[in-house]
Structures are given as C-alpha cells and as structure tokens.
C-alpha cells in the first residue's frame, strides 16, 4: 500500500525536477540513458558470448582465490555484476559450484565493478565521448537487426556502449551548466559528519537508480566539473556500495534460498567493507595519494584517484572478509533451511529464466532430480531399498532376500514428490524457451520428453505394485519366482543407469545403455516364453497368467522409459544420441 504512494510521490518529484530545472532534466536524462546502455550491454553480452561465460565460470570456481579472480575478470569484461550474480545463483542452485565458490565470485565481482569507475574516469570525462556515442548507436542498431546471435549480440553491446557514453555526456553537460546556477560544492560538509551524510546520500541514490555503476558515473562527472568535493565523492562511492546491496536484498525476497544466501553474503561483505572504509577514510585517501604518485597519476587528478580509491577499498574488503568465508558459509546454511512436505524444485530459479545457458543447466539438473525421485518410488513399490541393490555384485541374491514389504502409497508419493516438481519444470521450460535459440529449444524439448518418460515409468509401476503385493507373498512358488525376475529386471536397469551416470565418454554410455536395452528386449521375449510354458504345464492358473503377462509388459515399459530418459539426460553429444536411438 505504502509502496504505491511512495512510487507515486517519486514520479511527482521526478516530474517537478524535470519541469523546474533544465539542468536537472539533463542530468536525469543522462542517468536514464546510461541505464538503458547498461541493459543493452548486458543483453548483448548474453547473446554474443553464447554461454562462454557460463562454461568458464563452471570450471574456474573450484577454490576461493580462483573464484575471486574469475568474478573479477568476468565482471570487468561484462561490466555487469547483476548478470554475473544471476548466473552464479543458477549454478549454485544446480549445485555446479559450492556456496563458498559462489561467494568468492561475488567478492571478485565487487572488485570487477570498480573497472566501470576507471573507464568513466579515463575516457568518459576526459575526452568528448559523445562524438563516439552516436556512430556506436547507429552501427549497433544496424547490427541488432540481424537474426544471428553473434551479430545481434555485438550490435547490442555497441548500442549499449553508445548509450552509456551518451548518458555520461548528458550528465557532464548537466553538471557543468548547473555549476553556473548553484555551486553544490559550497554545501560540502567537513569531518565525519560530512562522511556519514554523503555515505547515506550515495546509498539512497543507488537504491533509487538501482545501479551502483550509474551512481559512480554520476559521482565522477559531478567531481569532474567540481560540483562536489573529493572527500565527499569518496564517501558517496562507499555509499554506492551499500546501496547496491539493498537492491540485491530486495531482489532476493522472491527468490530461492540460494539467492537469499548470496544476497546476505553480499550484504555482509559490503557492510564490513563500508565500515572499514568509513573508519579509515582519511588513511585510505593518504594511501591513494601515495599509490597515485607511484602509478603516475597527477596529485590533482581527483577523478582517477576516486577510481583508485574505489578499487582499493573493495580489494581491502575482500582481503578482510575472504578469510572468514567458511564461517559465513556455515552461518548462511543455518539461517536458510528448506522445509517442505512437498518436494519442490531445487534448481529452478526465476532469476535465471532470461539466461538461456544457465536456464538449460538448471532444467537438466531438475530433471535428474525428478529421475532420482522416481527411482526411489519405483524401488519402494517393488519392496526394494536402493542402497542394497545399487552397486551390488549379486543383484539376484539381493532381490530374493528383499522380501520385507515397504508400504508405499504411490498416489501420495506422486502427489508429494513428482507432480509439483514435474509441473514446475514444465512451467519453467515454457518461460525460459522464449529467450532461447532453436538449438536450446530442442534441448528443452528433449528434457521435457525425458520428464514424460520418467512419469510414465511411475504410472506403470503403480499397476505392477498391486500384483507384486499379491503374488510375491502368495503360495505359488512359480509365480513368485517370475515376479522376482520382473523386480530383478527393473533393479538391473536402475543399477546400470546408475553406473553410466559417472562415465565421461558418451560412447561408453551409449554402448552400455544399448546393451542393456537389447537385454531388456530379449528378457521380454524369454519371459513370455516362460509364461507360456507355465500355463501349458498348469503351474499357474489363468488369473495368475493374465496378471503375469500384463506385468511383464509393464516391467518392459518401466525399463524402456527409464532407459530413454537416461539417454536424454546423460549422453551429452547430440550426434551420439541420434546414433543410439537410430538403431
């Protein structure tokens, strides 16, 4: 309720500023153009990289120093910490990286964002970048009309960069004109009171603008034209770091626990860094001056010194907080725990819907989760415990000895552990597909088919369970032996699939699956022959024979559905998958 009024008041204030003051209009226009540029750059990089960023991050976050370096490098290149955060949340959700690795990337990303200040300080305010902005926008638009992702992506990057430059030019021009009317520098407050006031202003500005990069551009341009004092600019930069955390915290409210953990880690990091920077602001400023003289930055070049300060206090923050990462991980895992009767998606997060490669990884992991749940219910329905038969040297023996009935209500299990998960996967796929190219859409389609295979296997096991309960504990030894064979066939299928999951080579996987599939087909044939013989020899009655014939079909269908889903899930190469299915 209040939110609506606050937003309305914000719009009124904006309208007043735009109408009342020509310079304010120019500065605000500069900020909005800068933000549009950031959005285009982010979209462009997503299209242009074609998943390279995701692939690199997956492999370079095994240790904390590596993760910090990867986060720094990736953010410096992409110039968007929010894009990186989204990818990291998806990887964390998909368990592709550890929480400490993800926190490391976020630390590195904080240092990486400081490169924006260097770019704006070095090029933005020192040369007339507006004249480069327009050609960039023109070529960017032309290229973005292309269908190919690389052209389109490069076009969007150019377009974004053009808008960022144009935005800076507008901000600079707005502040220059404003200086003739009001001298904001005369409002500068000395001492720690000034520091705290300006930290607050920087934080509020970032919460309102929703981008610390835009706030930094604003601070640098204001400093460049002398509208603010150097020390006040330093405080504003510290405030911008705090403000960006508030944005991340608000964004994580509707996300899953992983996003919340990362947002809190980010908050802890930024608050600690800010406290250190505020307490030692003057000492840090001295350090900046000392390093500037060593780096060849002029003593009166406050713009580059601000960029250096921004980098130094973030690096110091990392050095200060990184040793406590493990403690932070423990704390974060303890404050966000998952409690639910219904099994819901572990890996799907709406934050990654617009990042195709990350969304695809999340769906893959979630379908694997669905497969694992289905294996649990199938095993229990057959009165089998997975840990007893999977990896066993003698599955037949385990099956024959596993005669204690496991009470399993498949309908209830389906409702609690499968149905919601299946629906969530389908819903997520529908939304994620909008941003995907045809190849990625094909992958989503095959994953949806794998889900269907898994769910079908569960439906068949429901049919099978009734007779397992009836005949496995009945008096007829022949029919009991046949039902044990059916259990053995399914257990062997699950066991083989479990083995192939750890294999790296697609050819090994597909050949083992194909051998298994051929065996299942052969067993179906043999089983039918055996049933015929039992009927002829009057060893089973007609009712038992009918049940056995039907259940033989159900067993075959369960195994085939599991095999089909495993080909989709674990054979990575499309050509090898096609070869495997073509036989």
């Amino acid at each position: 309720m209040y939110k609506k009024y606050i937003y309305f008041l914000f719009l009124l204030l904006l309208a007043f500023l735009i109408l009342a003051n020509e310079n304010a209009k120019e500065i605000i226009a500069g900020i909005t153009i800068f933000l549009i540029g950031m959005v285009f750059m982010e979209d462009g990089f997503k299209l242009f990289s074609g998943g390279i960023l995701e692939r690199v991050l997956k492999k370079t976050t095994s240790s904390l120093p590596k993760a910090i370096f990867s986060g720094f490098l990736a953010t410096s290149v992409v110039q968007s910490s929010s894009l990186l955060t989204i990818i990291i949340i998806s990887f964390l959700s998909a368990e592709l990286i550890s929480l400490s690795g993800a926190i490391g990337v976020i630390f590195g990303s904080n240092i990486g964002t400081t490169t924006t200040a260097w770019i704006v300080s070095s090029f933005g305010v020192k040369i007339d970048i507006a004249k480069y902005a327009l050609p960039m926008i023109i070529f960017g638009v032309v290229l973005s009309f292309k269908d190919e992702k690389s052209y389109k992506g490069f076009g969007n990057i150019l377009l974004g960069l053009g808008f960022v430059f144009l935005g800076i030019a507008y901000m600079k021009s707005g502040f220059e004109s404003l200086k003739d009317a009001i001298d904001l520098a005369s409002l500068a407050v000395e001492g720690y009171l000034g520091v705290l006031i300006y930290v607050g202003v920087g934080a509020i500005a970032t919460v309102v603008i929703q981008s610390s990069s835009a706030t930094m551009a604003l601070i640098i341009t204001a400093l460049a034209v002398g509208q603010i004092e150097y020390y006040n600019a330093l405080s504003l930069a510290v405030g911008a770091n705090i403000g960006t955390t508030v944005t991340a915290i608000i964004g994580s409210f509707k996300s899953n626990n992983n996003a919340k953990r990362l947002a809190v880690a980010h908050l802890i990091f930024n608050l600690v860094t800010a406290v250190v920077a505020i307490v030692f602001l003057y000492e840090l400023a001295d350090l900046v001056q000392f390093l500037s003289s060593k780096l060849g930055i002029a003593s009166d070049d406050y713009i580059l010194q601000l960029a250096l300060f921004h980098t130094i206090f973030n690096v110091l923050g990392v050095l200060f907080v990184a040793p406590f990462t493990n403690i932070m991980v423990k704390y974060l895992l303890s404050i966000f725990k998952t409690k639910s009767v219904h099994v819901t998606a572990k890996y799907l997060d709406k934050a990654v819907i617009n990042s195709p490669e990350a969304a695809l990884s999340a769906v893959q992991k979630e379908v694997e989760h669905l497969y694992d749940n289905s294996v649990e219910v199938i095993s229990h329905a057959l009165s089998l415990h997975r840990h007893k038969y999977i990896g066993s040297d003698d599955i037949s023996c385990v099956i024959e000895e596993s005669l204690t009935k496991i009470e399993t209500d498949i309908d209830l299990y389906y409702e609690q552990n499968i149905k919601d998960l299946y629906s969530e996967i389908l819903y997520f796929c529908t939304l994620a597909q909008e941003e995907m190219d045809s190849q990625q859409q094909d992958n989503i389609y095959r994953l949806k088919i794998a889900c269907r295979n898994i769910v079908e296997a569960i439906k068949y096991v429901k049919e099978l369970q009734r007779n397992i309960d009836k005949f496995l504990y009945g008096k007829n030894d022949y029919i009991r032996s046949e039902y044990n064979n059916l259990r053995k066939n399914i257990a062997k299928t699950i066991d083989t699939i479990y083995t192939i999951r750890s294999l790296e080579d697609d050819l090994d996987i597909i050949s083992k699956i194909k051998v298994l599939k051929d065996e299942i087909e052969q067993l179906d044939y043999i089983q039918n022959g055996k049933i015929d013989r039992l009927i002829r020899e009057n060893k089973i009655d007609s009712k038992g024979a009918t049940s056995l014939i039907n259940d033989n079909v159900f067993t075959h269908n369960i195994a085939i559905n599991l095999i089909e889903s495993s080909i989709t899930l674990w054979v990575k190469d499309k050509d090898i998958r096609t070869l495997g299915r073509g036989q």
Partner: protein
C-alpha cells in the same frame, strides 16, 4: 529486410556457410575416429578380462560400435 540480404551477401562472399559444413564434416570424421579407437580399446579389454560376462558385454559393445560406424558411412 534489405540489411539481411546485405549480410547474406557478405556471408556468401566470405563463404561462412562453407565453414559450417566443414565443421559438421570434421565432427563426423572425429566421431568415426573415436568409434574406431573405442573398438580397439574394447578388443584390448576382451583380451585382458577374465570374466565371461564382461567379455560378452564388450563383444556386444563392439558390434554396436561397428553398426554406428556403418551408419555414419
């Protein structure tokens, strides 16, 4: 759209399509080579293995690899 045609012409001029076909052909050759290597390694495994069941499984795998090769040819 005119610009699309212009890009197509540029692509044809630089034979970018050809690159795509060459890539596919190269991938196919790589897969054939991998299949042949796999057959050899399975043959080695048969000789090294003491288990009859394992030998039988490897033989089946070899047959499959040969079928895949035939399909690729």
């Amino acid at each position: 759209m005119g610009i699309e045609k212009l890009f197509k012409k540029v692509e044809n001029f630089f034979e970018l399509d050809k690159d795509e076909q060459e890539k596919k052909q190269k991938k196919k050759e790589k897969l054939k080579q991998a299949l042949q290597d796999k057959i050899l390694s399975l043959k080695d495994k048969i000789q090294e293995s003491d288990s009859k069941a394992k030998k039988k499984e490897h033989k089946k795998q070899i047959e499959l690899m040969k079928d895949f090769l035939q399909e690729l040819n």
